[in-house]
Amino acid sequence: MATWELQVFVGDQEAQEESVTLRVSGESHIGGVILKIVEEIKRKQDWSDHALWWEQKKMWLLQTHWTLDKYGILADARLHFGPQHRPVTLRLPNRRALRLRASFSQPLFRTVAAICRVLSIRHPEELSLLRAPDKKEKKKKDKEPEEEVFDLTKVVLAAGVAPAQFRGMPAHFSDSPETEACYRMLSLPQPPPDPAQLLRLPRPGSLADKTHLHSRWLDSSRCLMQQGVKPEDTLWLRFKYYSFFDLDPKADPVRLTQLYEQARWDLLLEEIDCTEEEMMVFAALQYHINKLALSGEQDDAAGGSGLDDLDAALNNLEVKLAGSASTDMLDSLTAIPELKDHLRIFRPRKLTLKGYRQYWVVFKETTLSYYKTQEEAPGDPIQQLHLKGCEVVPDVNVSGQKFCIKLLVPSPEGMSELYLRCQDEQQYAQWMAGCRLASKGRTMADSSYQSEVQGILAFLSLQRTGGGGGTGPANPQGPEASGEVLNPHGLVAPRFQRKLKAKQLTPRILEAHQNVAQLSLSEAKLRFIQAWQSLPDFGISYFIVRFKGSRRDEVLGIANNRLIRIDLAVGDVVKTWRFSNMRQWNVNWDIRQVAIEFDEHINVAFSCVSAGCRVLHEYIGGYIFLSTRERARGEDLDEDLFLQLTGGHEAF
């Protein structure tokens, strides 16, 4: 039997590799070769994760029972013996960095699934990895302060077992304070970015710019090593397919948060456009989410608020029924708090120049009445307004000491407009809270009244300090940080920063905030994601392509249910094809052309310009795969199907 010498390089970094020379034959099994290498090195360590990598062929020799002949390895083969799992730095959807060990030998699909398991993100098929853009490196070095990199490289998960929960987090996070901090980073929303920094970050200026991102997706059917990723490289982890299956606040704290973060950055960096009104809602939700996250409200997402209410009501009732003092009972049943004060009122009318005039205003239950003087109060009021169903709009300028409430009260005849002017923040907060509750048909006896008052005061204090915004949200801890250093410009996309001053922005965010102020943390995140999903341009990944028979570049948008042909210059939708009408699609790898056949013999073919046609192919196949999940139900991933749908012949 002919034997020859085989050189193998051992080590996980190219620089530190030592070389070992073995005597092998064509009949040697890979497993035997590995054994020989280990014997040769005579070092005691855990070799279980090590495997052989064939550099020229760019492949792992993972079939240990195969012979060298079967693999076709000859003496000139450059073999490396190294660990299959190597550390990489992940840039998460929330833009934080995290080091962990990823498999360099398995198909990326499985690698991502393993990463998601460590991060406790369900449905890993929706995520994937991108190469980090390389250009930013130069400027970043001098400007950016050392950022905290979380480290999970030491975490090893037992295979096949669902991670158990321990102290409200997956057990593997509760090992050390560092990993606990890491879990907090993963599951809690990040503070808003510094507006100045936001302005510096690259934003797509055109549709063509939006296509760049997608050229960086890694190939799901090949392993990291094959795609030239090196240990310690930075990769981006992102939700790739915009089809989020079974999003459940209880089961998915990390997934929900990361999705929220991705949505937020999408909006802040203008990857997706929205209207001004929509931006205000997004800003209000961010503000609300931030506030809740900072106030340390544990997101118990019990969902049982209704039950809690009932319990509370029962407790109250119990107290009432048990209460021996009859007056107490009567009081508690009858007392509905009132507000009475001198306020200035302004009623805008046509052709009137009258300004604010002082009245005696009584606010009882959901009704606002005003009188000329306090003495006339028992009599008929000048006007009485039932606030149920009314619109309450703040008109506040803290620095100008202007605290007005604009009421738009519906009546059968139309809307009547009324401005209430309060003297100070305290008064304003009380009346404002009363008006808001009344507009929803609740009285000030409602349990949420006090928290509403506090919320308004908190927002006012934000306005007092807002606009300065120099400090940045560097240290989110501490009670005084909980909103005061918040700059509204960090909550909106830069184009609104340019359009609106912080002074103008804050009241509008405040106005939008009142509609979401009651949401819990996870509800607010979910609402944010829903609003994001409701945007017309949501979930479209853009590619520059050239259609067969056309001479100019056009844009192809791929969404979870359709393909969209878009005019590159104008941005108008030219044509839409739905996946549900799709018969089949083929890729001609030689001429990099994707050909798709739809029902009724509609054929479309295009070649890819901005990204590899693999990426496009994988996108289409991926969405088809995701649409099959609905029926299959269940957590198990049909990896083969995914690879079948997304892999090309190159992969096999």
Partner: protein, 657 residues
Amino acid sequence: MEQTCEDIDQMFSNLLGEMDLLTQSLGVETLPPPMPDPPHTEFNYSVGFKDLNESLNALEDNDLDALMADLVADISEAEQRTIQAQKQASQHQPNTASQSSSFLGNGASLGYKANFTSTGISLYEDELPPPPADPVLDLPPPPPPPPEPLTQEEEEAQAKADKIKLALEKLKEAKVKKLVVKVHMNDNSTKSLMVDERQLARDVLDNLFEKTHFDYNLDWCLYEIYPELQIERIFEDHENVVEILSNWTRDTENKLLFLEKDEKYAVFKNPQNFYLANKGKKEGKETNEKMNAKNKEFLLEESFCGTSVIVPEIEGALYLKEDGKKSWKRRYFLLRASGIYYVPKGKTKTSRDLACFIQFENVNIYYGTQYRMKYKAPTDHCFVLKHPQIQKESQYIKHLCCDDARALNQWVTGIRIAKYGKTLYDNYQKALSRAGLASRWSSLGTVDPAAAAQTPSKGHTVSTVQPNGQISQPTHSVSRIFQEAQSHVEATKDKKPAISSYDAPAPPANNLKKSHLPPPPPQRRSSDVNSVSLMSPKPIMIPSKPSPQDDFPLPPPMGEAELPPPPPDCNEEPPNFVPPPPPTVSSADDFPLPPPPPPPPFQSTEPSKPPPAITKKPPMPPKRLENPGPAPGGASGEQDFMSDLMKALQKKRGNLS
């Protein structure tokens, strides 16, 4: 059960005592309790006080009802209890009198008074003294209680919680506002029915089907018309009817119609017309008009079942009526989930350039009719957005005009989807399952009349002939109702096991076996019946009742199916013929199947004249009261006793009111 009631009663009589003390301490203003028609000012100072009055008032009946049930259960025990009850009643009597009178008088001051007296809807003041059937107290025999025994403490705690829940429910119940609504039919006739403030349009529709015996289909809807503004719209199934009607003014000409509108669920029948239409148009051909069912389903699932609902992309030039003028300006509008936007002059239709025209939170969408005449609109395809409270012409009403009917339909539907989101789809799903139920009913329609004849002897033979059909369908209705019940009254669910565990020790075991204790609720209604002559309290049936015996008003009797609907028949089958019908399912453990009831005394009037049975219907509850009695053969003796008892009770109530 009666034990619970007594406990509650005790709680309330404590309260009552306290209130008496209070009224005394109020001094001058106070009137002596038994005065029948005092000025009511003294009660106006407190909402809570009034509620208590009402619930106490209701409880009085209930107390008697519970007693009644007990009597049915065991005669000898009953006799003793009557004495006791008489004592009790005599104790309570003065208070009761004052309370009921105060309630009557206070109707107006409570703010429950409906101002709607004259035209369109006429809403009569609801002064029926006893509150409507109580969702909790009316509970049928609880479903099988959880077998695991509770510890003493738990049991006590549970019992306490239950009582409180019950009391809470009572308090809520007492506040329920009711309107009598006149609904216009297709044939220009009208029907009046009572709607309570908890009822959704869906429930009212159910009542209307019950009253009219129209064939159920998805297109039926409640439809409001504002003759003055010339606008109209479909009530969504989930909307609260009383709330909407409360926005109408006293002298309104607005009308409420019961009719079929294809538009109601058009989007779910042909989603492609809304979701794919615009794209089809661009191609110049309407290829999308037809779509196979599977694709439709797929499209619906995609649009409505994701994390967020997809609003159809609708955009196009519309005419907007300018404020206060009769001129219409053409603008390019786009529908987004967040509202309607328009493209300002010289701008593009990209998101960043759009200006917001209106958001949907505070407005409803209406069709405008004959606007070409009224406002010189360019076409007659107009829609209107206005705050539900606005009833007169106002600058705050927005009028828009589309080029054609198709566009109008798309816009209105699109706006409804944007405004209501998933709710719309849920409504449709509920209506669908309702329709499925209805079709099953109608397929059985041929049998029903026979069953309706319902003389005890015949009834048996007839109903036993067709067990197959009978079984499946009541089971369905029950399960549906159970589902609803679960969502509606979570509290009751928690309560059930406890009540039955409560039940068990109190009466001797044989008591249960002998009596097949019926749910007390029917009795409650029977009490109502006696005091109400104008309107039947029945429309106020709450759909949340999980009682298999009680559920017959809910599923619409289809076709010829006349008043006595199948489920009761089903109950009347001799037990050995009944392959487990719902009652057994729900009450298998504690409550054996009620054996066939004796011929009800009121039966004769009942089957003959069903639908306008406002006054005829009431007899039914007493009938069911007797259901639990022993088998028909030996019923006579009991029955005499029963009718005596009934008379006695009625007499007593007569005294009270």
